[in-house]
């Protein structure tokens, strides 16, 4: 073990390099004892991943950024409850998913950015340009799926969870999860065909 493997003001590159479990352990220990710099290092290590998850689930950059912040603030508050049963990043991931789900519940069904859609309809954002042709931006298409379908599609086809795991993460029933997945795929396939 090197002595200088964690520096308090930590660049993303250095954060990415401190992969060893013992280093994460130390950072978590210090964060639990109140060290914000240690928690910053944990943030730098996990931010891109958490942001990717939040962005895909939320379908909107502003909401995603808000959820990323909420995720880390919640994690900071709940650090006492993290005893290392899972990897820190897994624990953070669950908080992120819960955070986005919670955000939607708070916002309710009607919202400025996300409108409920009929089968086959697509949401349109301000300034959206029409498709450029054969090459579809899959990420953009996913972001335009209706909320329920998007959640399940991201967790299942992008993140690789099974339906029972999705049920546990989100509270959606397994049957509903399957239905939403099929709906999402159908919508995306129609898009791909165009």
């Amino acid at each position: 073990m090197t002595m200088e493997n964690v520096l308090p003001v930590i660049s993303r590159q250095q954060a990415a390099e401190s992969e060893a479990t013992v280093d994460i352990d130390r950072l978590v220990a210090r964060a639990r004892a109140g060290s914000k710099p240690a928690f910053e290092a944990l943030y730098r290590e996990n931010a891109s991943r958490i942001h990717a998850v939040c962005l895909r689930l939320a379908g909107d950059r502003n909401i995603a950024e808000e959820c990323v912040q909420e995720t880390f603030i919640t994690a900071w508050q709940k650090l006492d409850g993290f005893r290392g049963e899972s990897a820190f990043s897994s624990w953070l991931y669950r908080i992120a998913v819960n955070t986005v789900m919670g955000w939607f519940r708070k916002q309710g069904r009607r919202d400025r950015h996300i409108r409920p859609v009929e089968e086959g309809e697509w949401e349109r954002f301000e300034g959206e340009t029409s498709d450029t042709g054969i090459g579809m931006d899959l990420e953009a298409a996913i972001s335009r799926l209706p909320e329920g379908a998007r959640t399940v599609f991201v967790l299942h086809d992008v993140e690789g969870h099974r339906h029972d795991e999705i049920a546990e993460l989100t509270g959606i029933a397994v049957g509903t999860s399957k239905a939403q997945l099929h709906r999402a795929r159908r919508l995306l396939r129609e898009r791909l065909e165009q």
Binding site: P8, R26, R32, A33, F39, A52, E65, G84, R189
Partner: protein, 219 residues
């Protein structure tokens, strides 16, 4: 199989949830029906591309400053109470008589001048064993529990409490360094503390390795 059934079953097929006979039937239909074959191709492509999407996505801007601003100070109950009590009675302490008077200012909270420091009283108290068990990561506690038998005259306590002491000191220096990153003196102290932590963990590791296995073994 007809095209309608094919479409109904395509998703289950993608997720390997079809019985072998149904799966076979689906593939046979796809071989014979160009429209459905196209559907299958698109479906598989979508599945592949979705799974291949990047796991990470850098936020457009650094969110840390906003997060940091919203983090409430954490810390041990005992430590905070003690510091507050000290702050209530002593704002500026004149340390030395007969010679240079050095004033030491007790700081607390997230004052933007300087970080909260573990101030030394007459005799610094070691953190309690309860706090050590609570705050140190589970892997540290497990290592030391495995290394020091319960009857080893307080060794387990000494290891855990000192390990937390070192980690709290690391926290305090990291806090100080976050506001003065170029401070080489602090960095020197921090390096020393990492060495101290390593020493404690290495000792525990050696002790654990030297203990007889808990399960009865035949030699």
């Amino acid at each position: 199989m007809n095209c309608e059934t094919f479409n109904d079953r395509l998703d289950d097929w993608l997720d390997d949830e079809l019985k072998a006979t149904d799966a076979r039937a689906l593939q046979v239909h796809a071989a014979e029906c160009p429209a459905c074959h196209a559907q299958m191709t698109i479906a598989r492509r979508l599945q592949r591309e979705a799974f291949a999407l990047p796991m990470t996505n850098e936020p457009a801007r650094d969110l840390w400053p906003e997060i940091a601003a919203r983090l409430e100070p954490r810390g041990m109950q005992g430590n905070r109470k003690w510091l507050h009590a000290l702050a209530a009675s002593v704002a500026v302490v004149a340390v030395f008589a007969g010679g240079m008077l050095a004033s030491r200012v007790l700081l607390q909270g997230d004052a933007d001048i300087a970080p909260r420091l573990v101030e030394r009283s007459q005799q610094t108290e070691l953190p309690s064993l309860a706090d050590a068990r609570r705050i140190l990561p589970a892997s540290y506690v497990e290592l030391i529990d495995a290394a020091a038998p319960a009857n080893a005259s307080g060794t387990e306590q000494a290891l855990l409490r000192n390990l937390l002491l070192v980690n709290l000191a690391i926290r305090d220096i990291e806090t100080a360094m976050s506001e003065d990153p170029a401070n080489a003196d602090l960095r020197e102290l921090l390096t020393g503390l990492y060495a101290q932590e390593n020493r404690i963990l290495a000792q525990a590791e050696r002790m654990r390795a030297a203990r007889p296995a808990p399960v009865r073994t035949t030699i």
